[in-house]
């Protein structure tokens, strides 16, 4: 545990710990000097590192295998590079396969994600603001119903949604995927908590005294203050829509409306059909890598925002 120390902790210790001090005493004093910057622990680092390895290994595997040709994928060891670096060939082939339908799936996904996440975040902000700052009757009932709905399993809901949408003739259209994604009860909850916390009522009242209407007050005063929560809700809506599998699976039959997740699985099924199936595992793997890159980039680049938003949700929740 103590084999390595950071320089600051080490120098603090050198001043404090005298040869004659009892163990208990030295422990107290070191803590006193290093509560905010304790010694680094190799054991703890190694143990956490193992978990990080568990989390990164499949992604590393994916990256390595996206660089292999189909022949290399079948023949070479999973974590070793192939004979030929075929990443670019694979990417070109992914976009060409089946008349370039991957592009179509990508654009569909972007459509579902951009429209779905933007609308759901705006509706959540609007509703959360109303719950936190405006008075209206039936609020408690509404809160209870919406919070209760967070506990309704999404998939148990999707089958009734499919049955209803089939009845309304909406299945097999983009609306079947878009409309359910507009409602994000947890996003509403987060916006409500955040508005209550971060938007001072006095400021809203001042704006209204100055003659701003309710809607203008919301857009010009409250909305800018809700930016961290909005980015959080936006990002998590983005992820849940981008990753959604069950809803588009049941709602869509026409491959031209598929999002990436469904298309990817269709290719995977093609590749695994016994006997006469096409051997396109290299394309499935490369397409999978292309599918996750935008999400990983979004998460990494927006870290500052969503971590603060998440903290607030966690601390209040």
């Amino acid at each position: 545990m103590r084999s390595r120390t950071s320089t600051r902790a080490a120098s603090g210790e050198a001043h404090v710990v005298t040869p004659g001090a009892s163990i208990r005493d030295s422990r107290n004093r070191r803590r006193l000097y290093s509560v905010d910057n304790p010694k680094k622990s190799v054991t703890l680092t190694v143990m956490t590192g193992l978990s990080a390895l568990y989390c990164l290994l499949p992604l590393v595997w994916l990256v390595i295998n996206a660089t292999k040709s189909q022949a290399d994928f079948v023949s070479s060891f999973g974590l070793a590079p192939g004979h030929k670096f075929a990443l670019w060939d694979n990417i070109v082939e992914v976009f060409r396969y089946q008349n370039g339908i991957f592009t179509r799936w990508l654009l569909n996904t972007v459509l579902y994600v951009v429209v779905g996440a933007a609308v759901s975040t705006f509706l959540a902000a609007l509703g959360g603001y109303a719950l936190a700052k405006l008075h209206f009757s039936g609020k408690r009932v509404l809160l209870f119903v919406i919070l209760g709905s967070i506990a309704v399993p999404g998939i148990a809901l999707a089958i009734p949604q499919f049955l209803l949408f089939a009845h309304l003739g909406l299945t097999n259209t983009p609306w079947a995927v878009l409309i359910p994604s507009f409602i994000n009860p947890f996003g509403l909850y987060l916006m409500w908590v955040f508005t209550a916390e971060a938007v001072p009522t006095d400021l809203l009242d001042a704006a209204k005294v100055d003659g701003a209407g309710e809607f203008r007050t919301f857009v010009q005063i409250a909305l800018p203050m809700l930016a961290p929560a909005s980015v959080t809700v936006l990002l998590f809506s983005f992820v849940s829509i981008w990753n959604n599998y069950f809803l588009p699976l049941i709602m869509l039959k026409d491959p031209n409306w598929y999002p990436l997740t469904i298309g990817l699985n269709q290719w995977n099924k093609l590749g695994s059909t016994a006997g006469n199936g096409a051997l396109i595992q290299n394309l499935v793997i490369t397409a999978a890598l292309l599918t996750i890159i935008p999400l990983i980039v979004a998460f990494l680049s927006l870290q500052r925002y969503w971590q603060s938003g998440l903290s607030l949700g966690a601390v209040k929740g």
Partner: protein, 314 residues
């Protein structure tokens, strides 16, 4: 939005508004409803109406003769005697009982490790462990399916080298492999929630504890774990909801690995999906979806109703 429009909303939405209320307050009332209306109406369309409609459909059965006929609660009585359904339920129940504690204990341990400030490269660790959350279940299943598979994957190589016959997707081990995938995907998310809660603990508490001679384990036990309690309750509830509806992994795996032991009724959701789409027994599938939702909510609430209530009282 014009002023006249707002007045209309009051007239329709709050007929009980009394005359002697201050104008500002009355305006507040109608406007609040106008702000919540888009969410509320869509919520009704996406949550309430489908559930009611599913309830209605669940009262009908598809018969070979006579087509779709009213059958009362026959679907429900059939469901309660359906061994396939209950096998699926008990499978996800046992899965939840094992996977959720492992995942949350791991997530808590990692959050405590990050919060101890004793790690080298803490930021890198935090981000790496969280990353799987951004990976769709489809991609995660493909990766793990290929990687653990004996045909192309690491276990194939391992078996060739050592002459063993290990198969992570044999009927007896498939569920464990699925548990590994789910744990992989969600540990980081829970870890970040716990970490956020720990970061909110005032540092003065730790200084005071140190002055009192508390060691690290006492600090964890007396300060950090109690701080995590309420977020743990919520994490348990959401994890239960998540594992009860497990679907993507068992739906995709059979196309990747042969003889995995995954049947069409492996989990309740897979069963409902196959009933509705392969078997076209929509009324029965609707009944199953509703019963499953009821069971999930009941279990989640039984675990701890207080979590949500606290949030509500806030």
């Amino acid at each position: 939005m014009g002023h006249a429009g707002r007045l209309d909303v009051t007239a329709v939405m709050s007929p009980d508004t009394t005359q002697h209320q201050a104008p500002a307050k009355r305006r507040g009332k109608q406007i609040g409803l106008a702000f919540i209306a888009p969410f509320g109406l869509l919520f009704i369309l996406v949550y309430i109406v489908p559930i009611v409609y599913a309830g209605y459909l669940s009262l009908f059965q598809e018969k070979l003769i006579g087509g779709n006929t009213f059958s009362g609660l026959a679907n429900y009585t059939k469901l309660f005697q359906d061994a396939q359904f209950w096998h699926g339920v008990s499978r996800v129940f046992w899965f939840t009982l094992v996977q959720v504690p492992i995942m949350l204990l791991l997530a808590m341990a990692l959050a405590l490790a990050l919060d101890s400030r004793r790690l080298h490269g803490a930021k890198f660790m935090r981000v790496s462990i969280f990353l799987p959350y951004a990976v769709p279940a489809v991609v995660s299943t493909l990766m793990w399916g290929f990687m653990l598979g004996v045909k192309y994957g690491l276990f194939g190589s391992l078996n060739n080298t050592l002459g063993t016959d290990l198969n992570p997707f044999a009927p007896g081990t498939t569920l464990i492999s699925i548990g590994m995938m789910v744990t992989w995907a969600f540990t980081g998310f829970n870890m970040l929630i716990f970490y956020a809660v720990l970061k909110a603990v005032p540092r003065e508490l730790y200084e005071a504890a140190a002055l009192d001679g508390a060691n690290e384990f006492q600090v964890v036990r007396r300060i950090k774990l109690p701080a995590l309690r309420s977020s743990l309750v919520i994490a348990i509830i959401f994890s239960i909801i998540g594992t009860f509806q497990i679907f993507s992994e068992p739906q995709i795996l059979p196309s990747m690995v042969a003889n995995s032991g995954i049947t069409t009724d492996y989990t309740p959701n897979l069963y409902a999906y196959n009933l509705a789409f392969a078997g076209s027994q929509q009324g029965y599938a609707a009944a199953l979806a509703l019963v499953m939702a009821a069971i999930t909510i009941a279990v989640a609430y039984a675990v701890q109703i207080r979590g949500l209530r606290n949030a509500f009282e806030d």
